[in-house]
């Protein structure tokens, strides 16, 4: 494709300049909401209402919005809760789904084929078709709501089928049985073989799944909102939502809160953009 751009001549060049121009304009349109939020998070309310675009403000800039938002939305607490829930759920999903996928690929029996089909089929069920009975079972009957570990458990369950599916595809085509047999003859148990030989070889898929699951858990709102209601348990999206409800007229503070909420994930993206992009693409293509 690069080659054909060179041989095309002037018409191609004109096209590519208009193309570049169009891309730049689109890019600007995509970025403008972020820029506006960031800009206004440093301004006083009166200046924001007067002109959200203006760089010149009557009262100057301030970081007070951030201090207020940080305290009032209990940022550290919410961040900690998000970290706890996301971290634990991701570890649980990765290990358990890799083991299930390994079992499915290696043990060709009725059990494997029934549950593999069940998992594949379940991916089509929308969350809305499960959330009501979920609240009924885990809330009214078992009384397990308002525990972060319940949310970890539920996250793990919902992420299971996709992760098993992707792991299974990878193990099937990339992990030769002969390796495991060698370890087995050396006296390793199945479990040892799995963790010492197989699991390290799954690394590319593991990192894809870590990225996909971390993004999904970190940003999830609906499921956590059904499970966690107590103020000191709220995750970041939940506390942003509650905070917005109370302070919605206080624009500067709201903007600062939004910046604080997106900052962790954007900072991560800054350092891991290649991995995140290839992980997301790999995940989409495989499932």
């Amino acid at each position: 494709m690069k080659k054909s751009a060179k041989v095309g001549g002037t018409r191609k060049k004109v096209l590519s300049i208009t193309g570049l121009f169009a891309v730049v304009i689109m890019f600007f349109l995509y970025m403008i909401p972020f820029i506006l939020i960031l800009l206004n998070s440093f301004k006083y309310k009166r200046d924001i209402i007067k002109n959200p675009f203006s760089l010149i403000t009557k009262k100057g800039y301030t970081i007070e919005n951030y201090i207020t938002a940080f305290e009032k939305m209990n940022f550290l607490r919410a961040f900690g809760n998000s970290l706890f829930v996301t971290g634990l759920s991701t570890i649980a999903v990765i290990i358990l789904s890799a083991m299930v996928a390994y079992y499915f690929t290696r043990a060709k029996n009725k059990f494997s084929s029934v549950f593999f089909t069940l998992m594949a089929a379940s991916m089509i069920i929308p969350f809305q078709a499960i959330m009501i009975p979920l609240v009924s079972i885990y809330g009214a009957q078992l009384g397990l709501l308002n525990h972060r570990l319940t949310l970890v458990f539920l996250h793990t369950g919902f992420a299971m089928s996709m992760s098993v599916f992707i792991f299974q595809g990878f193990i099937k085509s990339n992990i030769p049985i002969s390796l495991e047999e060698a370890a087995y003859l050396d006296g390793c148990s199945k479990l040892q073989t799995f963790f010492k030989v197989v699991f390290p070889l799954l690394k590319p898929t593991t990192s894809t799944l870590i990225i996909l699951n971390v993004l999904a858990f970190w940003n999830d709102y609906l499921l956590p909102s059904l499970v966690l209601g107590k103020k000191n348990l709220l995750t970041l999206p939940l506390s942003t939502y509650t905070f917005y409800g109370t302070y919605s007229a206080d624009y500067g503070v709201i903007m600062a809160a939004l910046v604080l909420t997106v900052a962790p994930i954007l900072i991560l993206y800054l350092f891991l953009q290649k991995q995140i992009i290839s992980g997301v693409v790999a995940g989409a293509v495989k499932s």
Partner: protein, 295 residues
């Protein structure tokens, strides 16, 4: 019998170690609630009381007759149609533009994908500020009547606001998948077409688009399922307002069950949603596979 042990005892042990923990969680979180959901539709549960009375198919009748449910379903179909089309058209064009060796194309790709990393709740709030303050301010300053009042206070414009935010959120993601498709195209085929004198449009129509069918299938599937289930952005951008005119079906089901405390009817409606989604994505995958074979 595979390689999970030679003796039956060993095989059983490995089944318990490897498969059961994961399967147990999966079943208790997905399968059992899903089945239990059918039972709920037969009861009059209100979320509080301990005893549920069996009411037969009454909830399904109520769901059938719930005008608001079908209105929100209709609105959702309209929303899905426009979002899926716009997301994929824009994503395809962006991917095409960003695989031609443009300077800094990696930078652009990274940027266009950014909205996808952020949760719907925050996206909705960001755009609420844009629509209700920034654009109104812009309208007043520039005299453009279209922006003089907040889009979120007008039913039609609020609907389009939802579509715009969805396009903004999803197109970067689909762009990445189309880029993967474009990069996978064989350069030999493209060059052969150029030498044979195929113009840009001809190449697009007869070579690129047929070869990109797998990417279209993936993207359509992803956008369809995402758009049908959208809740977060709906909640924080419009909240269903003005007057419930932008309440998409996921929000309707939520409110039916948890706000109106009508769990049985809510679950019956959720099952209708499930059937519709399953049919549409099933048909889409089937058609895509057929096209793929023909191409």
């Amino acid at each position: 019998m595979g390689t999970m042990g030679r003796k039956p005892v060993e095989r059983f042990k490995n089944l318990c170690i490897f498969a059961l923990p994961g399967i147990f969680i999966f079943c208790t979180v997905v399968i059992i609630p899903f089945i239990y959901g059918f039972y709920l539709t037969l009861t009059d549960w209100d979320g509080v009381k301990k005893v549920k009375a069996i009411v037969g198919l009454k909830n399904y009748m109520a769901a059938f007759q719930d005008i608001n449910f079908w209105a929100s379903m209709g609105l959702t179909l309209k929303y899905v149609l426009f979002s899926v089309l716009l997301v994929n058209i824009i994503a395809f064009i962006l991917a095409y533009a960003l695989t031609n060796g443009l300077k800094g194309q990696n930078f652009f790709r990274t940027g266009f994908f950014t909205p996808n990393l952020i949760g719907g709740v925050v996206l909705g709030f960001i755009w609420q500020f844009v629509f209700s303050r920034v654009l109104v301010n812009f309208g007043e300053a520039s005299g453009w009547g279209i922006f003089s009042t907040s889009w979120l206070s007008d039913p039609t414009k609020a609907f389009w606001a939802l579509v715009i935010v969805t396009v903004w959120q999803l197109s970067g993601y689909m762009m990445l998948i189309y880029i993967a498709g474009f990069t996978g195209l064989s350069t030999d085929v493209m060059e052969a077409a150029s030498i044979d004198g195929a113009t840009g449009m001809q190449r697009m129509k007869h070579i690129i688009i047929p070869l990109m069918v797998p990417s279209f299938v993936i993207c359509l599937f992803l956008t369809l399922s995402r758009a049908f289930m959208v809740y977060d952005v709906n909640l924080t951008l419009t909240g269903g307002e003005p007057y419930g005119t932008t309440r998409l079906v996921a929000m309707h089901v939520y409110e039916k069950a948890f706000t109106a405390r009508n769990y049985g009817v809510g679950q019956a409606e959720a099952l209708f949603l499930f059937i519709i989604v399953a049919c549409i994505s099933g048909a889409q995958i089937y058609l895509g596979k057929k096209k793929e074979v023909e191409a």
